[in-house]
Every structure is written in C-alpha cells, then in structure tokens.
C-alpha cells in the first residue's frame, strides 16, 4: 500500500516537474542547441531516484529545451550488488553515457582514469567545493560533479519524545546512553536498528570519525600508510565500543528490519527515540509521510567523551560522471556543465530538498529546508565538521557492514570487531597495492 502511495506521490511530483521544465524559456537555445535530439543514457540507483527523480527529471526536461539533449534513465540496485553492475559494465565496455555513483573510496576503486572523462580543467570545476573534488580525484585529476547537497552522519532523534521527557541533546556518550535509558524507562525503544540492510549499521562507527580525528588529526594518513590501526588507536577503538554499546537497546526485530521498515517504525506510536543515520533521513520521511513529520526529527552528532569536542562527520554526495568511451561525451559534458551551473542548481533546488550545505559556490541552503538541516549550518560555520574517513582515503574494508552487525549484535566484542576490521582493511590495501601493508 505504502509503495503505491509513494509511486503516486512520485508520479505527481514528476508531472509537476514536467510542467516546471517546460516553462524554461526556449530562447536560451543558441549555438549549443543540437539539430537532432541527442539521447544520453544515465545509470543511477533506485534508492537515489526515489528521492531525486523529480529534480533529475526537471533538469533533463530543461536540457531538452535548451540543448535538445534527452536523458534516458537506467536504474540499478543499491549496495554491493549495484557496485558489481557498475564494475562489470565498465569492464565490459557497456557503461551508459552518464553515471551517478558514490564519491570517495567506492569511486576511486573503479579506476576512474581508465573509464571517465577528466573534468579537471573544465571551467565549471572552479565552482565545485574542494572537499568534493578531493572525493572524486585520483592522482590530482577530477572526474565528477556533486549531484546533491552534502549530508552529515549522526543520530536522528525524535523531538517530541525529547520534549515530553525533558531530555537535552547529549554532548557526551555517557549522557547519550542515559538518554537512551530514560526513553526506554518511558516505554520507547531506545535506538532503532535496521540491520537487515547491513550497510545502515555502519553509521555509528563511521559518523564517529569527527571524534577520532579530533584526537588523532593524522589518523587518515597513518591508517592508509598502515601505521595506525583501529584496534590499537584508542579513539578509533572507541567508535567500535560505541557501536557495541547499542546492542541491547535496539528494537527486538532489528535483524529483520530494513531501512525502509525503519522509517515506518520511526513514525509509529511508541517509536524508537534514536536512529543512527545521515541527514538524508528527513527527505525520506517527507517522501513517505509529510513535511511536518520530517520536522518532528532533529539530528545531533555522535557524542564524544568530552563536552567541548562535538561536531559532525560529513558525507559527500554521489557524483555525476561521464563515460570516456561514450559517443556522446561532448553532449554529456554539456549536461554536466548545465547541472553544475547556477541555473541548473536552481532547477534542482526547486524540486529537491537539501540534506546539508550545497557544494557548488554561490548555491545557498534554501530557507525552507528542513529544520534539522537548517540547524546544521551552525556547525559548518563554526568549522565543527570533518570529512568521513572514506573520503579521506581509498582504504575501506569490504566487509565493514557485516562486521558492524556482528559487533552490534554482541557476537563480537568491540576489540575483536576492530581487529577483524583491520584484517579486512589489510586485504583491501594489498589489492589496492598500498605501501606499508606487506
């Protein structure tokens, strides 16, 4: 039933997007206008489309109007099965003209210099945020533009429960755990677990990176060089301990709960009070429920052990990449340039909400953003953010998500999980041919 509602909402949004798209003036068409319609194929995953299809559709309608470029969507599944599709299609030479895919470690693992158009010297790159460029660069060459806003990882909490119980946003991990217990005492589930989608179990660990970096500013480079390990770096081991602390405070069916189930649970009566997630949570809730429902929630950073150290770990959005082998590479670059232009971003912003600040210069956070997202601005202004580890190094263990599930379910202790993860990273390092891991 829910699926049907979503479909209906999406269809309605799509129709609205189409109307909007057609209102873009046609006189903009100049020499850039192709005589014959160029059809570009674009591969993107379904989860992403669920949120951003209206925006993408509006952009593609505008591109048809302006350049006579038509975008044809192909969708793929999310997660490691989806990565597989991308890797296999690249290797087989059957990649679409355009690709929307993760930035960071997962992107660099694709061997970008072999498959994607180098955008380093394109003029539109000047407006792209440095952090994002870093996340889609290999050997100093840049291969993509950000398709959405940035987002942060942290703990989503229910404002109504916090108000009802008179709780304050915790600044330390101990304060957080006592909040969890207070919620449980009042009959709420302390923390929502959605381990059926194993990837979602990683956020407590990954979003704690701000605290790791605050204590060990050189952790990322030492980790890549094989000098620092999770198991023997106290601050990094602490992240695993936090993950392990959550066990016992989760919903009974956390092993069978998918992320989508999780969103539903957050809206039920006696809902879970907390959900370790990214700020993309808000747009999912708006999509499945309503804007007011989305504003019932806020997000706070994974607390550290000292009150003074408190900040968000930032995720870079997916990137838009152009297939080097594409016959339509030129038209594809035109679309990319349009996407990253102020005009393109305006169209995007009209049709999609921000999960955090945008990564293109001159594109501000709209005032009608979610309450939870507007509150993030202060952290960015004060510099209390750090880039997630996977955007600072290409090294990320392939089984991270399963190890997190083992740790959260208590079948591995934090120490054990950290050292199993270190071994997992070692394997990745050897595959990547990194120095210092023999």
């Amino acid at each position: 039933m829910k699926k049907m509602i979503i479909t209906a909402v999406l269809t309605a949004a799509l129709a609205a997007g189409t109307l909007f798209g057609s209102s873009v003036p046609a006189e903009a068409a100049g020499t850039d206008y192709y005589d014959e319609t160029v059809t570009l194929s674009l591969l993107v995953d379904q989860d992403w489309l669920n949120t951003y299809e209206p925006a993408l559709q509006a952009l593609s309608d505008a591109a048809l109007e302006k350049f006579n470029i038509e975008i044809e969507l192909e969708n793929k599944t999310n997660g490691s099965d989806g990565d597989n599709i991308v890797k296999t299609r690249l290797a087989a030479g059957e990649m679409t003209d355009l690709l929307i895919f993760n930035s960071g470690a997962q992107f660099t693992a694709l061997n970008p210099n072999e498959y994607f158009v180098d955008m380093t010297d394109s003029s539109f790159m000047e407006n792209v945020d440095e952090n994002f460029k870093e996340a889609v660069s290999v050997d100093g060459r840049v291969y993509g533009i950000p398709v959405t806003s940035s987002n942060v990882g942290g703990i989503v909490y229910n404002r109504e429960i916090y108000e009802e119980l008179g709780l304050e946003i915790p600044r330390t991990w101990d304060a957080f755990m006592s909040n969890v217990e207070a919620c449980e005492a009042a009959g709420y589930v302390g923390v929502l677990g959605s381990c059926s989608d194993a990837w979602s179990s990683q956020y407590t660990l990954l979003a704690d990176y701000y605290n790791v970096q605050a204590e060990n500013p050189r952790f990322a480079s030492d980790f890549e060089a094989g000098k620092a390990k999770f198991a023997n770096t106290p601050a990094a081991l602490r992240s695993w301990e936090k993950l392990s602390d959550l066990g016992g405070h989760l919903n009974d069916d956390y092993m069978a709960t998918t992320v989508t189930d999780g969103f539903d649970k957050m809206m039920e009566e006696n809902a879970p009070a907390h959900f370790p997630m990214t700020s993309q949570f808000f747009s999912y809730i708006e999509m499945m429920y309503s804007r007011e429902d989305a504003d019932k929630f806020g997000i706070f950073p994974i607390p550290g052990d000292q009150e003074e150290v408190n900040g968000f770990t930032v995720w870079m959005p997916n990137g838009l990449y152009v297939n080097k082998e594409s016959e339509n590479a030129e038209a594809a670059m035109k679309f990319v340039e349009f996407y990253a232009s102020e005009e393109g971003m305006d169209i995007f912003k009209e049709n999609a909400k921000a999960d955090g600040p945008y990564l293109i210069k001159g594109v501000d956070l709209p005032e009608d953003s979610y309450q939870g997202v507007l509150e993030l601005q202060a952290y960015f202004d004060e510099g209390r953010t750090s880039l997630a580890l996977e955007f600072q190094t290409a090294l990320k263990g392939a089984s991270c998500d399963q190890i997190c599930v083992e740790c959260i379910s208590g079948s591995m202790s934090a120490e054990e999980a950290a050292s199993v993860y270190d071994d997992d990273c070692k394997k990745m390092a050897q595959q990547l041919g990194l120095e210092g891991w023999e």
């Binding site: 490691s80 290797a91 092993m255 399963q402 379910s409 394997k427 595959q431």
Partner: protein, 288 residues
C-alpha cells in the same frame, strides 16, 4: 549403392564436442588457474603467486563459511534423500489424486530460487511474517527465523528442502516404477510385510536413484549461493556465510584474483569429495 566397409567413424566426429568442451570448459579453467595467482582488475593484473590462496584461507568469514557449507550440504542431502523417498513411495502406491500431488510437490522447483528466497524471507519476518502470525495464533511465541544466528542457517536449509525435494521425488518415482512387480508379488506370497518389502526390495533396487539424489543434492548443497544470498545475504553478520557467498563478496569488493582463487579452491574441494563419494556409491549398485 556400394556397401560401406569402414565401420569405425573418423576421429573428426569428435571435433565439435572437443571444440565446445575446450572453448567453454578447458580454456576458462586454465585461464582461471592463472588469474587466481594475480591481483586482477579485469583490465590489468599483477602476479602474486600463491598469496591469494593464503589470503583466502586467512579470511575471517571462511571458517564459518566452510562449516556452514558442510552443514548445509549434509542436512539438505539427508533431508531430500529421506523425505523424497517417502513421498515417492506414497506417490507410487495406489492412491487417488496421485498426479495432482506429484505436480504440487514438483511445483516449487519451477519457481526461480531468488523468488523463493524473497518469498520465504517475507514469510519468516519476525513481526509481520505469516509463519509467526500462525504461531502467534496457536499461542506459541514468535521465532526470529532469519535474525537469530543460531537458527538462520536451518531456516534456509528448510527452504532449500521445500524447493528441492520435488526433483528427488521425481527421480525416485522413476526408479521405483522401473522395479518389476514380480518381486513384490513373490515377496507377498512368501508373507513379507510391506515394510519388509520396502527395505528388501524397494531400497536395494532403486539404489541408483538414491545415488543420483545423494550426488545431486550434495554437490548442489556445496555450491549453494542463490538461496542464501536472497534470504540472508550471509547474515546476520557472518552467521550464514557459505564458501560460495564468501567468494561472491570478494568478487563484489573487486578482489577478482582473490575470488578466482576461492573458486579454484571450491572446485577442488567439491571434486575431492564428490568423485570418491560417487565411486563408493556406484560400487554398491546392483542390477535390476
């Protein structure tokens, strides 16, 4: 017309089979042996010797994977052999609706394994699944079929048996129907009970069907992947990983050389177990 004197066919008649077998089996096998000793990203490779094999065996989830694979292969094999035989005996006796029941038992086998996996993981959902709703209706507390690490593997095994027992039954039915009725008549004249007839006539004389079922079910169980992947993805954590799912995860992570090494190991492992098993079983067969 001149009568043909040459009775032996030219060796060229073998050519099509040899070419197809060579192209599709021998060459890929040799190539995969080679790539199993490299770090390989599909377009370029670096020689690493036996490092991949060492890495594969030091993989944390492999210990669980090997144990699970054997439990899975043994359990599905035994259950299919026993339950399949039971069904076959019932369905070769003189009961009505026997054709209908035969079809019903065979139907699950026509559904794609992944679809079966998705359906059963929905049925086994701890709070919304049909199984637990029925249990709840009967006043029994719900079971966390796929979320509890100690029973998740067995839930998948039950699903596999549900799906696969039809093939075993069909093989048995063929075997049992081929046994001449004379033996049974003679035995009943001598006063043998039907239980005695089952153990002294049916089982020995359909030995070759039993052997086929054992071999098919065991090798199928050793290689199992699709059902595991669609039901649990090897989870919770690593609790239901099998050798094949460990290999797939390495492939998905982009460790192509390593996962090829894993496949070579799995191939050897299955061969080392299946050939002696096959020889042992066929040596026990008797002529009907």
């Amino acid at each position: 017309m001149k009568k043909k004197t040459k009775t032996i066919y030219s060796a060229w008649f073998l050519a099509p089979a040899v070419i197809i077998f060579g192209l599709l089996f021998i060459i890929p096998t040799v190539i995969s042996l080679f790539f199993s000793m490299t770090v390989w990203d599909l377009s370029s490779f670096r020689w690493v010797g036996l490092q991949n094999f060492i890495d594969f065996f030091s993989e944390y989830s492999l210990r669980i994977g090997i144990k699970n694979t054997f439990i899975y292969a043994a359990a599905t094999c035994v259950l299919k052999v026993v339950i399949g035989l039971l069904f076959a005996v019932i369905l070769t006796s003189k009961i009505r609706t026997k054709n209908l029941v035969r079809s019903i038992i065979f139907f699950p086998n026509l559904i794609s394994t992944v679809a079966v996996g998705i359906i059963f993981s929905a049925l086994m959902h701890p709070s919304k699944g049909l199984f637990n709703e029925v249990l709840g209706f009967l006043g029994i507390g719900g079971i966390n079929w796929l979320g509890d690490r100690s029973i998740a593997l067995y839930s998948v095994i039950m699903t596999d048996v549900w799906k696969g027992v039809g093939v075993a039954t069909v093989i048995y039915i063929a075997g049992i129907s081929a046994i001449p009725k004379d033996y049974y008549e003679a035995a009943s004249l001598d006063g043998a009970t039907s239980v005695k007839q089952f153990f002294t006539i049916t089982i020995p004389l359909c030995r070759s069907s039993i052997n086929s079922v054992i071999i098919l079910a065991f090798i199928g169980g050793m290689r199992t992947f699709d059902l595991i992947w669609s039901m649990t993805g090897g989870g919770p954590g690593f609790a239901t990983d099998t050798i094949a799912s460990v290999i797939y995860k390495q492939y998905a992570a982009g460790f192509y050389g390593l996962s090829t090494a894993g496949n070579v190991i799995m191939f050897l492992l299955i061969a080392v177990i299946a050939f002696p098993l096959f020889n042992y079983l066929t040596s026990k067969e008797v002529e009907v």
